[in-house]
Symmetry: C2
Subunit: 278 residues, 2 copies
């Protein structure tokens, strides 16, 4: 049996009792290491599980999935994923490959940012489509997520923005020369997401657009390390976020839509300035 | 400290290791018993935890929250919630009350239907707003969720429909006479949700509407007992669902939007007829 096991969002102890039982008994255990991070990393997990685990980077999961799936029809193999196994597209691909190989699979679900985000007090069923905000470079500033936020805002929905993670990225030069030298990992902070969002609306204003989806005074919510002991939530105006330090990664960001009374009451608990949230 | 602990979606073993540690050590442990169900119920949980737990019905959580919160500033008290603690509005209300009483709280997240629904292969970030479908009566047939589904479909989004749960409901007669006699619990099956959805579009057709949000051939996904060992997923046309038996509760239902190639490949795994999903 192949097991897809969610680790939740915090530390080693956030695995479920069922997940831990399977991890302890499995023949091989892999840790998917590029769509999120877990407090303490691989070493803490190994210590907690009392067993060896194998790091699976993007290359391994996407191109050598057969290596991970090897013999999973005869013995138990587990792939650990921070959050819930179905948070990222790449894992769906993995399931399809298992199916092709006639390997049965079981999913052990856990919390992901997609539901844990409710901790800020905004109701999950008032969220529209989730978007991803990617790192800009000097030559590439994709902003297609703006239109998605616009659709959400127009319908009164909040937007959860997942912020970019760059792990094991190569410079163009290293990539072209085939050198497996990787850049240090980068995790987008709320401050940078806010800067990029502000730049998009500035550009749109310069282009003469008047009906903007949001503006610098729109109430946003920054979330740092949701589900961890040092979780931090701040509600403030968009223009305030470039100067707000949300601490270590991972961060997520919310652009609010229409707010209900109870949502406002909850956000007040996290407000940068008590008078901002009305 | 007051602990809000998610139990996940399956059985007693789906609590996290951290959650279990807190439950074992807490002074009092309550189980919220009206927004969802857990396999085995209170007895199985007590056996697994090796301790007594107190059932908290809607009345207790909504009107006697101070009883649950009593002394939580001095000792550890936990409220167990099936799924994730922030799945239901009523729990947000609870947090606000704790804050008023100056009681600190910690959340132990877990999987909820809001993220575990990814197991059917539809990508979480292609979902729009989640809706609730309630039981109709002869005199009351609310269909306001139709407009929300329409907004989602217009934008290409899938819609997760949470299906109604009636626990500890009283007949109007018993309510008026103040008799605390409760009806047996009812959980809406996918078949009934589909019937109500089909009736709505029939009514709209009769009213001369032509631009319907979906029709009887729209691909939908029925989900039974997500996260449980006997989970069942079926993808079929809406008109087929009134005759599909998804088994025991709980059920959820999805009305698909635009589908990407990988989503179609995944749904084929669960298709009633292999040729339906194209």
């Amino acid at each position: 049996m192949f097991y897809f096991i969610g680790l939740g969002l915090g530390d080693a102890e956030d695995i479920t009792v069922k997940g831990l039982r399977i991890v302890k008994a499995a023949k091989r255990v892999y840790l998917e290491s590029y769509t999120s991070i877990i407090t303490g990393g691989k070493e803490k997990l190994e210590e907690f599980y009392g067993r060896e685990i194998i790091l699976a980077d993007r290359e391994m999961v996407e191109q050598n999935s057969d290596e991970i799936l090897k013999d999973a029809d005869k013995e138990d193999v587990a792939l650990l994923v921070v959050g819930d196994p179905f948070g990222a597209t790449t894992h769906t691909d993995f399931i399809l490959r298992a199916k092709e190989l006639n390997i049965e699979y079981t999913t052990i679900h856990n919390a992901s940012i997609m539901n844990a985000v409710g901790c800020c007090g905004l109701q999950l069923y008032h969220f529209g489509q989730t978007v991803s905000i990617v790192f800009w470079t000097e030559t590439s500033k994709p902003d297609s997520f703006y239109d998605k936020i616009a659709v959400n805002r127009k319908n009164g929905f909040h937007t959860l923005c997942l912020l970019d993670i760059k792990v094991k990225e190569q410079t163009i030069e290293n990539l072209m020369r085939g050198r497996k030298i990787y850049e240090p990992p980068r995790y987008m902070p709320c401050s940078l997401a806010a800067e990029q969002l502000l730049e998009i609306i500035e550009n749109k204003k310069e282009d003469g657009e008047t009906d903007l989806a949001f503006n610098e005074d729109t109430i946003c919510v920054g979330l740092g390390r949701v589900g961890c002991a040092n979780q931090k939530i701040v509600a403030a105006k968009l223009k305030e976020f470039p100067c707000i330090d949300m601490g270590e990664p991972l961060h997520s960001f919310i652009i609010t839509g229409n707010m209900h009374l109870m949502e406002i009451d909850m956000l007040k608990m996290f407000a940068l300035e008590p008078t901002t949230i009305k």
